[in-house]
Amino acid sequence: MAELQYFWQITVAGLGTGLIYGLIGIGFAIVLNVSGIINLAQGEFSMLGAIMTLYALQVLGLPIFAAIALAVTVVTILGVAFERLCISRLKVFSIQTAIFITLGASMFARGGAMVAWGKENHSLPAFSGHGAVSILGAAVPLQVFWILGIAAAVIAALYWWFNRTLFGLAMRSCAENRLGAEFVGINVRLMVTVSFAMSAALGALAGIVAAPLTFVSFDGGLILGIKGFVAAILGGRGSYLGPVIGGLALGVLESVSAGYISSTYKDSIAFAVLILILTLRPNGLFGRWAAR
């Protein structure tokens, strides 16, 4: 019985982190769908969002939700600036230069955060205290409900945007057939900028809601970002629910293997999964990908 209890507790913990991976994965998918670019700096949006919230909270003394709003806004602006200054200047689109540019941006964000906020780990207070609720015997921190709520809201909002507005439909059409979109009179460049804004905002939000459960550090972005990517590739990028499902699977897998085997290899689980999927199932488990 205690065994089962332990397993349940671990699974619930994994679902919490999994949602975060899912949110970050959606950010990846939005940019990839519209622009064809995998933004290796995606995870840095989450890192910056969390650190800036902390800054607004502690230094500016803002209340928590104002701090979050400010952080998300600033990161969104940074995302747009990055797209306008770097990505849109890729005249001859080459995947190699896109990799280097997003990698350089990731290094810059990481280094900049280190200079501005130091190398220490920070922690962000939970939005509504550090209490927990017991569900079938597993202690679920209140913050997980925030994550759940925000994830649900985000998915609903994205569904509305991509299915009910002409603008969202236009973004989908760029993913589907870029040339066709241009012939229809869609400004594809603008759509790419919007996709970066959306994914930056989403990434920041994911980093902020996740921060109270872990800690915030200048170099946490890269790994977190790649895990989001693994979530996206596990679930398939076609729908905006796919990355969330992939994220939940990854979160549970990680949590279970850390709980039963060793936490040393926790990070490499995600990456081993990534290598396996890319080489064995380049189309993802559920969705259509064209990795080859």
Binding site: I37, I38, L40, C86, R89, I95, Q96, T97, A98, I99, F100, I101, L103, G104, A105, S106, M107, F108, A109, R110, G111, G112, M114, V115, D219, L222, I223, I226, F229, S262, T264, Y265, D267, S268, A270, F271, A272, L274, I275, L278, T279, P282, A291, R292
Partner: protein, 598 residues
């Protein structure tokens, strides 16, 4: 590596050493040693990224595997250092082969991410397998490199050893770039499909380049271990991989010299930053973005461009008219290719794409030594047929035989090596390579492209390279484009680009030449000259299948015509009868719909 390069290398390193010995700071010597070690690892990146064009992001991991293998073998198992180093090389090569073979099928972002993931997994093993690796705190007490009584201890002996290895790595890397293997890598870097059509087995070659590149990193790691005698996982982390990539890009990833330049700069930069060391990572990020935009060929590329500008007194070669050039050389007569012309038989050939029957039950034959034209309106299935013959597509059913040998099921590169060459509708020359190099690329179909043999027998590899160059020059002479040999292909006038493509096909010694819409983009005079050239080729013993829309050209050169329409065979036979065939004319012009008007 050429003699003057070797002498220059020895002189510069010697002068540096002398300067340090006379009045310098011994600390600088240790910096030089680290530069040497890292430049060897970065030359690995030059091989896989600069030459083969594969964006691989986890090089430090292979350095780590090499470093830890020799450390574990010598420290935990008491092996002598040379055995430790050899085992490091073996382990790295095996890991790189096993991981590389599946991973290198990926492209672009996915390849980059998969190699990043590989690096993270390696890193976590180095941290986690603490019985062997001592975990995150790292391994200390590793012995120096020693063979019997000879112990390499202290900065000076290490300096000597490290720079001998740097010289060796430099020589190997340069030799590869100046061999047919190097040409093959450069082609697959820029256009994999083209490489395949020139007989390059892309997957084998990528894997070989990857294993070699990882081995360089592994060797660097092993030397590092015995030099610094302390290693820890964070030296070989993912971030270290990014730093190495930046070194390669900053110095110039296209040449091993770039590896040395980049390593030197990025090793001295933190020293120069002094109190601002904390800004290092952010600065690296900015540098990375800046060189991607403004200095894509790195500092070595900038030096090359400046040198080129100073040297360039040639006022540019007058762009002659293609027609005149070909007319001039026509007198030269046959272009010997020493190949036995083959006959091609196509029977019951079918290929469908999702919902579309592109080619349906098509059969025709191409007799040896003749020009057979394959014509038909847009969407008739001509391109599909060409791609089926050259092996880019796999037919759903049917037979394709070259002199009785079945081509179906053979890989495209194998078919190219059997003597089927082609030119492309949209000229596929590699614009940044010279015309000579482009033509030499065709020699890949006849060359020994085994990477390890190019390394082990540099003399043979060089000989092969020379032969390719001589043959290429001969063919270009015969076609009148030899004077453009050293110009970048993109500077050639369009008509001559077509000719250069034909030259590239000829050097493969084709027994069957597929010419895909050669007249597209040519004017009347050029088209006439092209026709004369095709006739000359056929006369000198090459079987030609000409895919063409320009009926004048077809009429002028074809010995027989095959017409496709809606993926099916419409007519075949002598030009005069086929072109008078009412069905053929209808297919091209369309009938008048009955009820349209007003």
């Amino acid at each position: 590596m050429q003699r003057w390069e070797f002498l220059a290398f020895v002189t510069i390193v010697g002068l540096l050493a002398a300067a340090i010995a006379i009045g310098g700071n011994p600390y600088v010597l240790s910096v030089l040693n680290f530069i040497g070690i890292f430049s060897v690892a970065v030359m690995g990146i030059v091989l896989i990224l600069g030459y083969a064009g594969q964006v691989v992001l986890g090089h430090a991991a292979f350095m780590g595997i090499g470093a830890y293998t020799t450390a574990i073998m010598t420290l935990k198992f008491g092996w002598p250092a040379p055995l430790g180093v050899v085992s490091a090389i073996v382990v790295v090569a095996v890991v790189a082969y096993l991981a590389g073979k599946p991973i290198l099928r990926l492209k672009g972002f996915y390849l980059a991410l998969a190699t990043m993931a590989l690096a993270v997994v390696v890193d976590s093993v180095l941290v986690g397998w603490s019985e062997m690796t001592e975990g995150p705190s790292g391994m200390t007490g590793i012995g120096p490199f020693s063979v019997g009584p000879l112990r390499i201890v202290g900065e000076w002996p290490n300096f000597l050893m490290i720079y001998i290895i740097v010289a060796g790595a430099l020589a190997l890397t340069l030799n590869i770039s100046r061999s047919m293997v190097g040409i093959g890598l450069r082609v697959l870097h820029r256009d994999e499909e083209l490489a395949t059509s020139l007989g390059v087995n892309v997957s084998v070659m990528k894997t070989a380049a990857f294993v070699l590149s990882a081995t360089f990193a592994g060797i660097a790691g092993a030397i590092y271990t015995h030099y610094s005698r302390f290693i820890s996982p964070d030296i070989f982390s993912l971030h270290a991989s990014f730093d190495m990539l930046l070194v390669a890009m900053l110095g110039g990833v296209w040449t091993p010299y770039g590896a040395i330049i980049g390593a030197a700069l990025l090793k001295f930069l933190p020293e120069a930053l002094g109190a601002f060391r904390d800004y290092r990572i952010a600065a690296y990020g900015i540098i990375f973005i800046a060189i991607t935009f403004y200095l894509p060929n790195g500092i070595a590329g900038w030096i090359r461009d400046v040198a080129e500008m100073l040297r360039r007194k040639k006022p540019g070669i007058p762009a002659l008219v293609m027609g005149e050039i070909l007319a001039d050389t026509a007198a030269a007569g046959a272009i010997g290719t020493n190949a036995r012309p083959a006959s091609l038989e196509v029977a019951e050939l079918s290929k469908s794409f999702i919902g579309l029957r592109a080619v349906a039950d098509v059969g025709f034959s191409v007799p040896p030594n003749q020009i057979t034209a394959l014509i038909g309106p847009n969407g008739a299935g001509k391109s599909t047929t060409v791609n089926l013959i050259s092996g880019l597509f796999m037919p759903d059913q049917g037979r394709i035989t070259l002199d009785g040998v079945d081509l179906v099921g053979q890989s495209a590169d194998a078919i190219a090596r059997m003597g089927v060459a082609r030119t492309f509708q949209n000229v596929r020359l590699l614009g940044d390579m010279t015309v000579l190099e482009n033509v030499m690329a065709g020699y890949c179909a006849r060359a020994d492209l085994a990477v390890w043999r190019a390394l082990a027998r540099p003399r043979t590899a060089r000989q092969q390279f020379r032969t390719a160059r001589e043959e290429a020059m001969q063919i270009m002479e015969g076609l009148g484009i030899a004077r453009y040999a050293d110009q970048p292909a993109r500077e050639l006038p369009f008509g001559l680009q077509r000719v250069a493509e034909i030259a590239r096909a000829l050097i493969t010694r084709p027994r069957l030449l597929l010419v895909d819409e050669p007249a597209a983009g040519l004017n009347d005079a050029e088209t006439v000259a092209l026709g004369a050239l095709l006739k000359r080729l056929a006369a000198s013993g090459i079987t030609i299948l000409l895919i063409e829309h320009n009926m004048r050209l077809v009429q002028a050169v074809a010995d027989s015509i095959v017409v496709l329409h809606h993926g099916q065979l419409l007519a075949a036979g002598a030009p005069t009868s086929v072109l008078r065939n009412q069905e053929v004319i209808e297919a091209y012009l369309g009938g008048v719909p009955a009820h349209v008007g007003g």
